[in-house]
Amino acid sequence: MKTSVIVFPGSNCDRDVKVALEQSTGGPVDMVWHGDSELPAADLIVLPGGFSYGDYLRCGAMAAHSPVMREVVARAEDGVPVLGICNGFQMLVETGLVPGALLPNAGLKFVCRDVHLRVETSQSLFTNGYESGQVLRIPVAHHDGQYFADGDTLERLQDGGQIAFRYTAGETPGPANPNGSTDDIAGVYNDRKTVLGLMPHPERAADPQHGGNDGRALFDGLVTALS
């Protein structure tokens, strides 16, 4: 299985997700610089977390118009799976590949802690390694993670099964919903469920030595679905 991670100026989770992908796929991972207009053939494209372009204008707005993103959008439209984590999710909403938008956290603070997520359905490329309703413990680290969608969009997401993960109560301190996201939404799919954007970082919980391993099944599940 061939995977590509797109690297932007200011990405800081690119190496973490590369390690997680190597662990699950057993194969090499292409690191593709954002300024490249050519993207190697890939079964999965990952947009990593970080602070691309210093979050200027809006988080993810500049990266969404990087040269390589034209190709990422074209591949996604052809059905190539795309995973956007944190800043990568912000890029996905800015390109319109997934619906909605991400606003500054309702509490106006950067939130960096473990949260609990409910897997809304196991019926996807990304979540087949989990049970529907399973609760995961995964870290978040963001300032602009408040998911927003208007009423019509929310209804469409709900009816189409496009809500991937919701924040839910667990034993970690602090409110279950760390950022004021609409309807506790932590991650959403496109309408074909081939593109997933989520704020929490599964690659930071992909090895017992990370202090948690609940993110690993997302990468293992992708290998199961795509190999």
Partner: protein, 80 residues
Amino acid sequence: MKARVHISYKNGVLDPQGRAIGQTLGNLGFAGVGEVRQGKLIEIELAETDAGAARQAVEAMCQRLLANTVIENYSIELVD
């Protein structure tokens, strides 16, 4: 010609910075302050001299990059 683009959150979109500013204005003793909304102002110098063409170009800039129309409104002001 110069364009000024004002960008602000749409009604119904939570603006926590605006809310915090409003609270602080109240703490400072400014009475009668209602809802406060914070936005952005972007000034762009343009080579274009025709107002219609300039507005059309800035409109396209807003749609493609300057504003996220899922959450933001924009207005364009042309200044000589």
